[in-house]
Symmetry: C2
Subunit: 439 residues, 2 copies
């Protein structure tokens, strides 16, 4: 049987993983695809460095046009990353009539609409499973397996660096700065960790998930994004006392004609399945109106796990090519004609439970004054932990609220922070009462 030829542009870590899979599992892939899958050409600006993987018969070139202009190549894999050259390469690949596979979440969360639109217009597939949650086949699940469901909510642990830091602080102690430093030394965090620890990377991925689940385009810039750098061991300990764990969650929920879309540290029940997702692992928990709660767990990054998703997409498209079809499933699981235009809900309108940690002067009147302000704004208190003073100075006062509107909370906090008995800014963490816990 005729083989299917692919080209790779970007021979970095994930690219090397892809080459390794295609070589190591060539026989198995041929059995599953029904014909050989041949990597014909690899383009990378660095053609000297030894990546430690056998190239098979592939040609290595510094000129990406050798991939894009080759009429034998039917699938182009873009793994150079970034939002500049990658976009041009993908559009050029479409122009040349080639299907595309990419892992580029930054690109898709910025230029996704344009790229997906060209893909549909030209009836050429684009696979991007690797762009969210690494090796976990969550995009296929949303686009196909669970496609009969109306998605009620998505909770994602979709940044391994942030989850590693939160897990380590929770399980082994340590403050944010020290744990981050260790993570950097272990290679789990970048030298500039901002994207990961401030939730920006998670917001990029959430934008893609929302587009798939809700059929509406949102920009990651419109997603409320708050990182984990302000979380302390004290908050983790208090969370434990209330039966919660703190995770950096990417959250999307349907709410009438609006969508909640937010990334922030979140307290969730310690026995929720997401609470057991530790270290660099990722998980996406979602609730569908028919399927109920489901969760998908695995490695969200890394050479081989990410390459597994890229290779899965390549095989998926190759199966289409064998049958002479394309665009069996549109990029986002629905055609662009049926795209909705749902607004992101204003965070001030959010209703949530809140954990509030005040730093207060240790006086008996403090709780009464703080709860008075909260009460005035319609916020009632569910629990209080007031620690005694060990020595002279300020003490933490922790309050968990009943359901409150974020606007009212922020108004209350700005009043409370004016009090002479309260020191500095209040730390607050949203608490999610998720369904899908295993009981």
């Amino acid at each position: 049987m005729k083989d299917i030829k692919i080209g790779l542009i970007g021979f970095g870590t994930v690219g090397s993983g892809l080459v390794k899979i295609l070589t190591d599992n060539a026989a198995l892939i041929e059995e599953r695809l029904g014909c050989p899958l041949v990597l014909k050409t690899i383009a990378d600006h660095d053609i000297e460095r030894d990546r430690g993987v056998a190239l098979g018969g592939a040609t290595l070139t510094a000129n990406s046009d050798e991939v894009l202009d080759d009429p034998e190549i039917s699938i182009v894999v873009e793994l150079i990353g970034g939002t500049g050259a990658a976009k041009d390469l993908i559009l050029k690949a479409f122009d040349k009539g080639k299907h595309v596979v990419t892992a580029n979440k930054a690109l898709l969360s910025t230029y996704g609409q344009e790229i997906f639109s060209v893909s549909e217009d030209k009836q050429l597939n684009i696979g991007f499973e690797a762009s969210v949650a690494g090796g976990i086949p969550i995009i296929k699940a949303l686009r196909e397996g669970l496609t009969a469901n109306r998605v009620e909510s998505i909770y994602g642990i979709i940044n391994g660096t942030a989850n590693y830091i939160m897990s380590t602080m929770t399980n082994l102690g340590g403050n944010f700065a020290d744990v981050l430093k260790d993570a950097q030394e272990l290679g789990y965090a970048e030298a500039d960790p901002t994207y990961d620890v401030e939730g920006i990377d998670a917001a990029h991925k959430l934008a893609i998930l929302i587009n798939l689940a809700y059929g509406t385009a949102v920009s990651h810039e419109d997603i409320y994004t708050e990182g984990i750098s302000r979380i302390t061991g004290l908050d983790i300990d208090f969370a434990r006392q209330f039966g919660y764990k703190i995770k950096l969650l990417a959250i999307a929920k349907a709410d009438g004609n609006e969508i909640e879309a937010r990334v922030h540290p979140t307290m969730i029940a310690a026995d929720h399945p997401l609470s057991s997702v530790e270290g660099v692992f990722n998980a996406v928990h979602m609730v569908g109106d028919a399927v109920g709660p489901v969760m998908f767990y695995g490695q969200g990054a890394g050479m081989m796990a990410t390459a597994s998703a890229v290779a899965g997409d390549v095989i998926d498209i190759a199966r289409d090519i064998r049958k002479g079809v394309a665009m069996r499933v549109p990029p986002l699981g629905h055609s662009k004609e049926s795209e909705h235009s749902l607004a992101i809900k204003d965070m001030a309108e959010l209703t949530s439970l809140y954990y509030l940690r005040f730093t207060a002067v240790d006086k008996p009147s403090v709780l009464a004054r703080i709860s008075g302000v909260l009460g005035k704004h319609g916020i009632s208190i569910s629990s209080v932990i007031q620690q005694g003073r060990e020595d002279e100075g300020d003490v933490p006062l922790v309050i968990v609220t009943h359901h409150a509107k974020e606007r009212d909370l922020l108004t209350s906090l700005s009043e409370i922070e004016q009090m002479d008995v309260v020191v500095g800014k209040t730390l607050f963490i949203r608490i999610e009462e998720t369904c899908g816990s295993a009981d």
Copy 2:
């Protein structure tokens, strides 16, 4: 755009769930499929009972031929269950040139080879996502998303009844008989619970997963199957002391030209993701050579969750029909020409850690005599718990072994059970040192 018409045979619980999804989510499904999906005819021997779901425009008939002989119907959904009439219906549907969706694990684990072979020969799709782990899209993940991977191991919690009983015994106490009785009253266990609690249902599902993952046909009858009815609260408590939980696991592992295939109560690390799967929830944990550990979690049964999987299959096939193709992916993810013939490994050859609970006369020499026999057969001991006697009588003596061969263990136990200081049969539970724990 032209619609796609389907017929349903079997209007029970899952059938009613399917009708509800197709009605409630008709607009959403049309957006995702690109054309209307119309349920034209429902056949069931009982056409009187009110299922509490709106039929839309569907005709209800007692004659399944009104589905099978209707040239307008292109997909037949078989939800009558059992291995008799269901098989004939499916083969007849293929004869009439119709694609098939079924949730029938008993049928597929018995006649799967024949049914899959006809499906391939006639180039007509068969969807069976609902046959394993209910709403969890595990079959699509194995067949497509993770298809670039060589599967190293599968661990499944794939029987909700057994998991409910084990979870309840673990979290709330109680003995097997009482918890089973409660489960029956709650509707979580059948009046005759044998299939579920003795692991037979899990073996049916494991046979299907093995065929998908390893490309080899195995009969559920060849899978070693042991249920949970002998597990006591004592064992659960000892497991906890060793840092384990006990779960009924369906296990498959590649081992050269053989496959380990077994269903039995298993001790796994308490911090393994599978350990947090509680109640009637299901989960499939697998390790792929590229993706590493992944886990899929959700409801393994129930009207709507199972119907979600059935509807997902229907839409998947309808997407093929729209494009004029079929058999894009063969039923088992590989063509029957590339089917392997791997043998199931003899359980006597299994190497595992073992938990052994002896009931012994409380004499100082007992441990020495038991460990002497184990040592003679090359089995070394990793831990011992010897409880003091509270009053006159026998005491439990618990031993955890290092890696041992099951043949040697069984030989040792039959010798030990002859001793005058040992009472009755030894309870032993295999311990899995799984990878994929989140650390």
